[in-house]
Amino acid sequence: MSVADRSFSRRGIFKALGVMTGGITLGRWLGSSAVAAQEPVQTKAIETFTGPGANPHWNSVGPYVAEPQKVPLILLTDRPVQLETPRHYFRTAFTPNEAFYVRWHLEGIPNTVDLKDWKLQIEGNVNNPLALSLPELMQKFKPVSLAAVNQCSGNSRSRLQPRVPGGQWGNGAMGNAMWTGVRLRALLEVAGVKSDSLQVQFQGLENGQGPKGLGSNLFLKSLDLGNPVLDECIVAYLMNGEPLPMLNGFPVRLVVPGYFATYWTKSLTWIRVLNSPDENFWMKTAYRIPDTPRGNTNPEDMKAGKVKTVPIERLPVRSFLIWPDGTSKIPAGMNIRLQGIAFSGFGRVNRVEVSEDGGKTWLPAELGEDHGPYSFRTWGMSWTAKSQGRHTLAVRATDEKGIVQPDEPVWNAGGYLWNMIERQEIVVGKAS
C-alpha cells in the first residue's frame, strides 16, 4: 500500500465517523480540513537552472516570455534575444511562425524595417553590383518553395556532459517551415561572379556594440562558391506563406537546406562575393566542430590542443517523440498513438523505429507525408502498454544515406551536433 493509499483510507475513516456521529455537514467539515492538510497535487515552478548534470527536461527551463509576433515562448536570453519553442508545437510537420524559435547573436536587431529604403545588395567581387527592392525580388525572379528544417547548432546543448557554456537549449531550438523566395544562384548570375572568387559572405541587419572588425560588431557567415548547397539556397521572403516575423529575419533570410541555422542569415541585406577566404570570428573561431566522427571529442584532447576543427555544416539525423510527453498517466490497456518528428540534413528520413526494451528490439513506425528531403517528417505508431508501471520508449531514425541515429552521446567544446537517441518515460496507471 502506497503512502497516498494509506492517507486516503484514513480520511475515509474520518468521513465515516462524521456520517455516523451526526451527518454529512460535520463529515464535510472534517473531510475538507483533512484534505487541505494533505493536498495531493503539489504545484511548483520548474528549477531555474540545471547542472552540473544533464538537463533532464525536453525543453530548457526558462520562464515563458511574450515577444512581438510570438506566442509565449521559453526565454533563454532577453538581450540579444534567444527563445525556445515548447515541445507541443512539434506535433505538426510545419512549425507555426509565431512559435518558431529565435536566436540572435548581437543586441542591435531591427524593430523597424522601412521597405522604401531597404535593398538587398549583391556586391564585392562581381561585375554588376545589384541593389534589389522587395518588389524587384518578388517580381523579377521566379519564386521557388522548399520545406526545410532550421536547427540551431547548439540545439540540445544542455544534454552535454560535462556541461559547456553557451545557450542552454533543450530540444526546441529547431523548426520546419515552407520557405518561398528567390534562388541565390539566380541573384549571383545576374550580378556576375568574377572568376577568381572563392566564397560568398552574408550579412544581415544585426550589429553589436563591439569594435569594428570583431565578432561583437558584426555577425558574418560565408559559404564556398563551389559548395553544391549553394544551388539549393533560397533568399526567402515567405515563411509558411506569411511574411517572416521580425524576430525570424524580416524581410528576407537565407535558407541553406540541410545546414545548421548559423548560415541562415536573418534580415539578409548584403550578399558579398569574396576573392579571399573569410577569416572573421564567426567563421574562423566560432561554429567549428572537431574534424572527427560525429564531431566528438573530450575535454582532455581539447585542452591538449590535439583537436583540429572545421566549420559546422549539415544536420545529423534526429528523431523525437512529441506525445506522450510524460505530463500525464496513460491507463493500462489503452491503445494510444505515439506521435513525433524526424529529420536529417543528409537526405530524407526513410525509417523511424520505437523500442520499449532499451534498444534490444525495434518496431517500425508509420511515416507521415513526405514534404521533401530537408523537411520534418512526422511519424506515428499505435501503442498499448501491456502492463501498469514505468515504461521507457526510445526513438531512432535512419536517413536515406543509411545513417542510423546513434545511442552514444557527443561532446565538443561548442556544444554542437547532439543527436543521441531520445528516451521518454511513460507512466502507465492501473485502469481498474
Binding site: V19, G51, A66, P68, S216
Partner: protein, 136 residues
C-alpha cells in the same frame, strides 16, 4: 424480512454518501494562489499602411544576480553587449571556465574591461556560479 431489506437499504445509502463525500472532496475544487498577470498579453501596436514594418520593443525581464562584491561591475560592463541573464542561464561552471569566458569577452569580443575590474568580475562569477557555490 422487510426490516432486513430496509436495514440493507439504509446501510447502502450511508455507504454511498460516505463514498460521495470522500470522492467529491478529493477530486474537485483544488485551487492555489497565483500571481495575477504574471505573463500579460501585449497590446497591438498601431499599424499604418506605409512602408515601415515595425514591432514593439523587445522585453527585458532581466536576471537576479546574486548579491556580492563584483555584481555592480557585471551589471555595468557585461550589460554593454548582453543582459546578465547570460550569466544566470548557464549551468554551474568550473572556476577556470568562468575565467576563460571573461577573458574571451576581452580578447575575442574586444570588451576592453580594465584589468582590475576583469579580475573582480571573474572572482564574483567564481564565488557564486560554480558547482561548489551556486544556489537556486
Amino acid at each position: 424480512m422487510k426490516k432486513r431489506v430496509l436495514a440493507i437499504f439504509l446501510v447502502m445509502c450511508g455507504l454511498m454518501m460516505v463514498v460521495a463525500v470522500v470522492f467529491a472532496d478529493l477530486k474537485k475544487g483544488y485551487y492555489r494562489p497565483a500571481e495575477l498577470g504574471s505573463l500579460r498579453q501585449t497590446a497591438l501596436i498601431e499599424l499604418s499602411p506605409d512602408s515601415n514594418y515595425q514591432v514593439s520593443a523587445y522585453p527585458v525581464p532581466g536576471a537576479d544576480l546574486v548579491p556580492g562584491d563584483g555584481r555592480q561591475e557585471v551589471q555595468t560592463y557585461c550589460n554593454t553587449c548582453h543582459s546578465p541573464i547570460y550569466v544566470t542561464m548557464q549551468p554551474p561552471l568550473p572556476a577556470a571556465t568562468w575565467e576563460a569566458e571573461v577573458n574571451k569577452m576581452n580578447k575575442a569580443y574586444g570588451a576592453a574591461i580594465p584589468e582590475d575590474t576583469t579580475q573582480k568580475i571573474i572572482r564574483y562569477l567564481q564565488a557564486h556560479y560554480t558547482v561548489e557555490n551556486r544556489t537556486p
